[in-house]
């Protein structure tokens, strides 16, 4: 039944062709801009010299992976559940004999799968055409990366889910939006590679769950982390985040105050 939900949600994504093209354009422009800036910064360095563990080529690859994963993983601006609270649709969802968390997770995974195809792969291909990217060194790394993306989406989903549940209390998301921007934009390593931050910040971000959303998959791709280490880290954080989501959901459901009517 959750598979059916994921399937419909997957199909739904293909309805928005214009949005896909526009988004692809934006991701590519940002990819080109950021890559050019980084290459300029590396200009006077000899080939193969790395800054905090990243060579110029790895940095550019990191940039394009970050752009490619924006839509599938979703780092900001996802308030679908808050919207249903405002419109009252949440009432209908709660009245169905299903698990509220899994209902949304399955839909989100379906959405993400579609966006890997419509946004992720094309963005990366454009990056590969314009720049010289690093590719995973073995088929095992390819496979590990493909496994790490659903983990990244799930961790991101749990974060978004919990942020949205705040809406049960606040009925508004503007305040939480800015927190979300920092948590998932910065803490995931989307703004800058986590290794580039000064020691105390870097050490903190490395022990938070949010690096599983981007940094860990990138490290798996680039070969900066062992496959087993990377995936087990993600598995651990995915489990923790799902547990936290359920805990918060229980409190939120208890406190349900539905607007209107």
């Amino acid at each position: 039944m959750y598979l059916e939900l994921a399937k419909r949600s997957f199909q739904q994504q293909f309805a928005y062709r214009a949005a896909t093209l526009a988004g692809l354009f934006t991701n590519s422009v940002f990819g080109v801009m950021l890559s050019s800036v980084y290459l300029a910064l590396y200009w006077d360095k000899a080939d193969g010299v790395s800054v905090a563990g990243f060579t110029a080529q790895q940095t550019v690859t990191y940039t394009w992976l970050g752009q490619a994963l924006i839509m599938p993983v979703v780092f900001w601006g996802w308030w679908l559940i808050v919207d249903t609270i405002r419109t009252g649709t949440v009432v209908m969802d709660l009245l169905k004999p299903m698990d509220f968390f899994r209902f949304w997770l399955s839909r989100d995974l379906g959405r993400a799968a579609a966006q890997v195809i419509t946004r992720g792969v094309p963005t990366l291909l454009i990056g590969a055409l314009l720049f010289d990217l690093v590719w995973p060194e073995s088929w095992q790394r390819w496979a590990a990366f493909l496994i790490s993306v659903p983990f990244a989406v799930t961790v991101s989903f749990c974060l978004r889910f919990m942020m949205n549940l705040w809406g049960f209390w606040l009925l508004d998301h503007r305040g939480i939006s800015s927190i979300m921007l920092v948590v998932s934009g910065v803490f995931s390593g989307h703004l800058l590679p986590i290794a580039w931050y000064p020691a105390p910040i870097r050490d903190l971000l490395n022990v938070l769950p949010f690096r599983s959303m981007l940094m860990t998959p990138v490290e798996i791709w680039l070969g900066q982390i062992s496959i087993v280490h990377g995936l087990s880290l993600q598995l651990f954080w995915t489990t923790v985040m799902i547990g936290a989501s359920y805990a918060l959901l229980q409190v939120a459901e208890r406190k349900v105050v539905v607007q209107g009517g």
Partner: protein
């Protein structure tokens, strides 16, 4: 055992009081808004037997939707008890969901982007309805509600009446024992309203589905609900037969008589308590009378003394009047 058993149900909401001005907003931010409590539902009790069709009526803000939400389990009452199909709704919401169908007139459970048939298919999976049962139910709904012409249209393109019919079909796919309807005919044209009423009558007759319906449309009540529960300010004001409400409190039927010419002017003072002339308009005279006091033929006989009668008709008391009078307080509450 009643399928719906509600006992002394109460729900209060905190009132958010917004302070005015800049300092006020800052104060609210620090201390929070706290403006006391509002009692939406107060000491409501009733029992409904399997197969009944009951109208739950009252003015806006009377507490109708709040009650329904508690009976579905999405709202936890402040105090009181309820058992729906043997379950306490707010403790067993998911389990109860299999046994009830809900239609909120102003909301939809259909997926906006999907064709109606796909929404229904998805619900089939959500409720784990066996394929064969689904086919049968879909066929019945298609037949009675005329879904055929828009089954493959995306829900966002449906008219209100079509969407409503789709929602009704969706709520019944899993053969619920109880159907809650919150304003099911709101905003619909006469034809769509009639189709929905016919469908509900058939459903109730053929499947013994218990129906609890809130509405502002008193025609819905007249057509569908032998029993009504009237609620106002969160309290039950009347619970009983619609007919007895009408006969006991709506009281008076009206006899409209057309005379061949203008009747004797003395007709205006005809009757004494058991009947009264309420209007004389040329040859047309309207007489209100109490069915328990005097029969229609007797009224007619007495009226014939004032002139030659050409035509007549009887009007039953209108439920609107009864309920309006009840709200005005001219009918003793809690009879």
């Amino acid at each position: 055992m009643p399928i719906i058993d509600v006992h002394r149900l109460e729900k209060t909401f905190p009132i958010k009081k917004h302070r005015t001005g800049a300092m006020g907003s800052i104060a609210s931010l620090i201390r929070g808004d706290n403006g006391g409590e509002f009692t939406a539902v107060n000491n409501v009790s009733f029992k409904i037997e399997r197969g009944e069709m009951v109208g739950y009526i009252g003015p806006n803000g009377a507490g109708k939707s709040t009650t329904i939400k508690m009976l579905t389990g999405i709202l936890v009452p402040t105090s009181g008890e309820a058992t729906i199909a043997g379950l306490v709704p707010w403790e067993k919401r998911k389990q109860l969901a299999q046994k009830i169908g809900v239609v909120f007139g102003q909301r939809t459970q259909l997926w906006w982007d999907l064709a109606l048939i796909e929404s229904l298919e998805l619900l089939r999976h959500l409720y784990r309805v066996p394929e064969e049962r689904f086919r049968e139910n879909l066929a019945t709904a298609t037949d009675l509600l005329g879904l055929g012409e828009f089954l493959h249209t995306p829900v966002r393109q449906l008219s209100l009446g079509q969407r409503m019919r789709g929602d009704l079909a969706a709520a019944l796919l899993h053969d619920p024992e109880i159907l809650y309807l919150d304003e099911p005919t709101i905003g619909l044209d006469i034809v769509a309203k009639e189709a929905i009423r016919e469908f509900l009558i058939t459903l109730n007759r053929d499947r013994q589905t218990t129906v609890l319906l809130t509405t502002h449309d008193l025609d819905d009540i007249e057509r569908l609900c032998p029993r009504i529960i009237v609620i106002d300010h969160g309290e039950v004001m009347y619970d009983g037969q619609l007919a007895s409400l009408k006969s006991r409190w709506g009281g008076r039927r009206q006899l409209i008589i057309d005379y061949a010419g203008d009747p004797d002017a003395a007709i205006a003072s005809m009757g004494n308590g058991d009947m009264a002339v309420t209007e004389v308009d040329g040859p047309r005279v309207t007489i209100a009378f109490d069915r328990d006091e005097i029969s229609a033929p007797d009224v007619l006989t007495r009226a014939s003394a004032f002139g030659e009668i050409r035509d007549m008709s009887i009007q039953e008391p209108e439920i609107e009047d009864v309920i309006r009078r009840m709200y005005d307080g001219s009918i003793p509450a809690g009879m």
